[in-house]
Symmetry: none
DNA sequence: AATGAATGAGTCTTCATTCAT
DNA sequence: TATGAATGAAGACTCATTCAT
């Protein structure tokens, strides 16, 4: 796997042993809350209980700290999906397990702040986005697709487009993770993750429709009902 | 209505009425790409074809510009979902139409940069998150839930938890919109929106499982297969 | 008299006829209130009921406007003191009249804002200070000194140092004019000019002491009573 | 206590404790010379031998710096007048001493730049004017009035209006302080403070008139002698 | 290794000044 | 003449980074 992390490791992996993890935790928190640009290194230092200068003993600058935050936090789950073994279980069960696993190991922890961080900063630091895609997203997509294919092969699942179905399967969990870090907080919502995941699993496995039928074509009927619909400007 | 890319008239010939929209377009682009904090007003001005000072003739400061970007871009779709009328169509068809509508009217336009912007800045500007939730998200959730309930009432759908199912229904579209603005770009992916939406619609309507059954309980089987799984720190 | 104004007139005196006096009045008000640097030309324009650009039709820039404000407002009283004729009155009466005249013609009008303006800006625009000194202050000093000398010559006054006594005679009126424009306003005081001037006139003519004696020497007794007197730093 | 002009230690050796006073000295000088609005913080910093950013380590912004300049420079003389003790001296002697004291402790130092500063900025920062009035002016007025009353009570002084007489007594010293900072500089005058104060003291104690009489009423005679007297506009 | 005072480049913001109408 | 939108130089302020201790 030609991942970004391999290229990056020589640069980022120095002083791994003695690098205080408090710094990375503090940085994830502050970066996650404020975004990279608005985060002040002094706040990170304060939160880690050290002085501003100390940060520079471990990370040569703000950008390196960001990269370390992402890579170090992610490293424990790098390749995790790829190592998931086939189980002697129904495909439905394995899909459900996989989605719950993602949530347990990722979405429900502060690690999910990483998602927000990467989405926000991927334009400024494309290698971070690439790294995240290679090490986290793609393996999960591949794993979910393998489950789907296995289910189709065994006659348990119907699925015409396993590649995109895998992407779609992940999506609500990603959204949920983002949600917990943003809208839930600012709107005083309190989305229940288990209820959310269960709804998702239930829907994608059994479907909404009692009587099976082809996917409806987009009739555009709803669109027609919007009076005076006009955007600000065509983009 | 002129497109953002047209730069016809010389500076001085452009009228006061045109400026705000030109600035809002430019600002959405720059804010969406860089984030609020990292965006330079000079870049916004340059993109709008004006000088730094001109921005301040229309928006009293950077924050007001951000708020205007969000509110003005969103205003055309405010209440849109709430105005969608019931159709004489199957519920399946209406769900499909609704999801396609969302994409046509929102996800596929530069408006979707708003989502990223709001997720990134909701902590710093909670009123923006709140506004977006009240005016865009909640109405759509409500609309989708009404469709689900209608389908259940008519015997067409099975759905135990219409509230959360509505949230889940939206999620992949949100993710897709974010994706187009971040990972697709930085990883040279080129996710096909129609194929993605169709997979989503197909899955949620018909379900993956050929033989219907109860939602599997989370067995945690996948988790057990991960060796040495350990996060950076407990969060 | 080689006054600054002669050198300056060629530059400042243009367009005298059609130059709107509202502009100068507005400028005096705004400059007097905010000071030169903090005054916005737009405020001057607004107060004069014209647009920003119009100011530039009459004054080539902010500095010229300031100079015009000073010179034009002062010109009616330029040389006024020098033209005061000897009266067939007691010197005491003439001193009193002179001080009341200063107040009537100068201190009590918005012209006194000029004093504040000049004191504030004399460092930045020394020629203004010089002009004011030559055209207003010096003639008044000379006039007052001439009255004092006349009084001494006629045996009505005792005065050892007519030059400095003249300066001192003016001083309370200057202070009063400044006071009305600053402290009176911000501290809600309401100093009564007539009562103030009368006290001044009474004191300088008749003196406080009932029994005449020499000016006491500074014994420094009061100083000795201040415990721990210590400034911020020696200057 | 080192003087402002000493620049001994290299930047890095100066301690945190020294900075504020160095900055306040520099700021008083620059504010006093240019006025608040026209003063550039960079000039203050340069004069204090530090960089722009350093100012903000000690004062959160320009306005706070101004307030600190005023309050810190004034604090040593706050209440000073109120603490002046009665002396076993003639009231004339005490008046003379008091006026010389004011000059020694205030007018002759760079503290007198404060007066100019406050007069210039009292409109913009009324609390500064108020503070100065409460802490410096009013106590001095009260002190001088107490001396006058004491003199009247003991039969040494005649004074009908001690309240206003006290105000008038201060005024020439205030004017002198302002003068040294403005007109003296720009007009190359060199007013001799001692001669000035002595003239003032002599005049107010003994009076100009050899033969005592009532305060003359304003006859307006001088006014009548001015031909074509006409202000710019009625104010 | 750790500190935190100091630095100065970079950005927001203001406003004198210009200029096409 | 008059307007006011537009400009851009200048200055307040922030904060990543350095460095003497």
């Amino acid at each position: 796997m030609k991942s970004c992390s391999e290229k990056l490791k020589p640069r980022w992996a120095r002083r791994k042993e003695d690098r205080p993890q408090e710094l990375l935790c503090a940085a994830l928190h502050v970066f996650g809350e404020k975004g990279y640009a608005a985060a002040r290194l002094e706040d990170v230092a304060k939160r880690a209980g050290v002085s501003k200068g100390t940060v520079y003993l471990y990370y040569s600058n703000k950008e390196e700290l960001l990269k370390a935050v992402v890579t170090e936090h992610i490293s424990p789950i790098v390749g995790e999906a790829a190592n998931l073994k086939d189980e002697k279980a129904t495909s439905a069960q394995m899909i459900s397990d996989a989605l719950h696993l993602w949530w347990d190991r990722y979405g429900s922890t502060e690690l999910s702040a990483i998602t927000k961080l990467i989405l926000s900063e991927a334009n400024a630091f494309p290698e971070l986005g690439h790294f995240f895609y290679d090490e986290v997203i793609k393996p999960w997509w591949d794993y979910l697709e393998s489950l789907l294919k296995q289910g189709v092969a065994s006659g348990e699942f119907r699925c015409q487009d396993t590649e995109y179905a895998a992407k779609v399967l992940c999506a609500p969990l990603v959204t949920l993770g983002l949600w917990k870090h943003t809208m839930d907080a600012c709107c005083n919502l309190n989305t229940d993750p288990m209820r959310y995941i269960d709804s998702h699993v239930q829907m994608v496995l059994n479907g909404l429709s009692i009587k099976q039928h082809d996917t409806p074509h987009n009739t555009g009927s709803a669109v027609r009902n919007i009076a005076g619909a006009g955007g600000l400007q065509p983009h």
